[in-house]
Amino acid sequence: MIDRVIQKAHLTEFLDHLAGERVVAAPVADGPLTRFRRIHSAAEIAAHYLPTALPPSKYLLPTKEVLLRYRYDHGVSAEAQFDTQEMIAFGVRPCDLHALALLDAIFIDDKHDGHYMARRQHVVLVGIECLSPCDDHCFCESMETLEVHTAYDLLLTDLGEAYYVRIGSAAGKELLKGVDSMREAVYEDRTRLRKAHEARYAAFTPRLETDLSQLPDLLADSSDSLLWDVLGEKCLSCGACTNVCPTCYCFDVKDEVDLGLSSGERYRAWDSCQLEEFAMVGTGESFRQPRNMRVKHRFNRKGRYILERYGMQGCVGCGRCARNCLVGIDPVEVFNQLKGQPVERQERQVMR
């Protein structure tokens, strides 16, 4: 589809209009944090912001999502629940778009999960490219997620007085119909876009010391590294890292009964592999009880297991986990330390 160019003032007008008519969510400043929130005018959108406290992918997999409602007074009847609220998510960053592409591959292509699909089909994603790094914690360039070609309906790039707009889907094209004043991109615009892209690589310095394609092997070979013990001693198993991660999607399934005791609901709620009960079974046996094993599991999921199963990176380099970890555990540092000091042990010992 032909790219477009929109003057910033026109985009603002358009967003003001859109937010009055439809549900638009965008990054909004909230004290020191930024959050995706419903806006009613473009002025509410944060100008410069770190990745939002919670990634937009958590909107598609909310903390608590009702899967079924049922009655069991006269026989049983159960009905699946789907959220079909339409929403336009504005200002989604490339790392988060990559995370959404991963969730799409898992929940739609692989699992046909109607609950995820219903939400996803009703969300229009307007992405915005990053031209400079968010802070010292992000490492999207190293994870090859700075460039994005999937998931978005529209993708904006800041060209100074205007946005360069790429159209990713029919829904994106449809949305643009509401913009009064815009023009088709011409050769000069594309040149400016290319220059903006080239310039950003000067700003994003590679942080990962391993070639990305070697990361799965590095992790596989580091199963016995002493680093896991060091991290296991440090980690508090609070689960903050998994709560803020755009590619973490593990959940628990529970029932809740209504007050009348004749109806209720089954819902899924966030869970974390960093919590001890996560892998515990009926006999009380926990299959990943030692903390060093739990930490190792998380980093293997991020750098190896997801990639091996779904062919996409399990970590998009947003840096949220590092920004939120009370004891400063940072995935790039972990990967670099594994690379720097492949510590072998004669005998595997686990911490209890």
Binding site: L68, V76, A80, F251, D271, C273
Partner: protein, 285 residues
């Protein structure tokens, strides 16, 4: 072991979490803590499982639990689960009467490689509740008896009061085309049988390593010892079959609970070959 994971759902549904309804048609108390339930799907259809697969069974208002299918697919449309009371779901099932409706999702997972056992000797090793999914296999083998070589069943429990399926076991013992041996960890002097861990039953057992498929289900500690034993017999690693238990919340490879390193027990298993698991640290073998 060949074959992709079996079909996830009998019918494609908008929600993979929407269960089918089933009715409790029979209830037999096997021990003080275990009950055998016979269930029939409300629409009268067959579950369509293979031995070794499991279902997610739900009591509305309480929750879901993964449970092995204990009946053989050769036995018609009703199916059976054998449940030990340990908590919310398993406890509340106990309180439901005949005719009560519960939810069933599945069958899930990869079952025992039945076709690869045809023409072979099958050595079944059950520890404790491991007999529950293995009963599905044993009955299937016996119903198609001519397709298999020697069938040997080694079954170990804590003490005689924990023995499950006593009536059936008596019938199997009476047959001369199956070699059944039982042992208990602890017993009163009145117990006539063998005492000791299930590995003690390997004594005086002739195993032809070239044509024997060992299949084991039991607690983690049992696997360690039994795997060692069958490897020592010279049986290749990719012919040793085991079924594992892990915490499960979805049954479809989404929720993450059942993972063993990069492997999902609910989808890739619960039945594996030893060769598939031996390099996985979290398999704890």
């Amino acid at each position: 072991m060949s074959g992709a994971p079996t079909l996830m759902h009998r019918r494609l549904k908008p929600s993979p979490f929407l269960p089918d309804l089933a009715e409790i048609v029979r209830k037999d108390h096997l021990t003080s803590t275990e009950t055998l339930y016979q269930l029939r799907l409300a629409d009268g259809s067959e579950l369509g499982h293979t031995p070794g697969q499991f279902v997610e069974l739900s009591v509305f208002g309480v929750g879901e639990a993964p449970l092995s299918i204990s009946s053989s697919p050769t036995r018609g449309e009703a199916f059976e689960v054998c449940i030990r009371r340990v908590g919310d779901v398993t406890g509340s099932l106990e309180r439901l009467g005949l005719g009560a409706q519960i939810g069933v999702r599945g069958p899930f997972g990869r079952g025992f490689p039945l076709d690869e056992m045809r023409g072979q000797d099958v050595l079944i090793i059950a520890g404790g509740l491991g007999i529950v999914p293995l009963r599905s296999l044993i009955v299937n083998l016996l119903d198609e008896r001519g397709d298999f070589g020697d069938i040997t069943v080694l079954y170990g429990t804590k003490d005689p009061s924990f023995l499950l399926f006593k009536d059936e076991i008596t019938r199997w013992e009476a047959r001369d085309d199956v070699d059944l041996r039982i042992t208990v960890d602890l017993a009163e002097p009145s117990w006539k049988g063998s005492v000791g861990p299930v590995t003690t039953l390997f004594r005086r057992l002739t195993i032809d390593p070239k044509r024997t498929v060992p299949v084991m289900v039991g607690p983690p500690v049992m696997f360690k010892h039994v795997v060692k034993q069958v490897l020592a017999c010279g049986i290749p690693e990719d012919r040793i079959i085991l079924s594992l238990e892990r915490r499960m919340k979805c049954g479809i490879g989404e929720c993450g609970h059942c993972q063993i390193n990069g492997v999902y027990v609910c989808q890739d298993g619960p039945v594996f070959t030893y060769a598939e698991l031996k390099r996985l640290e979290e398999a704890m073998l």
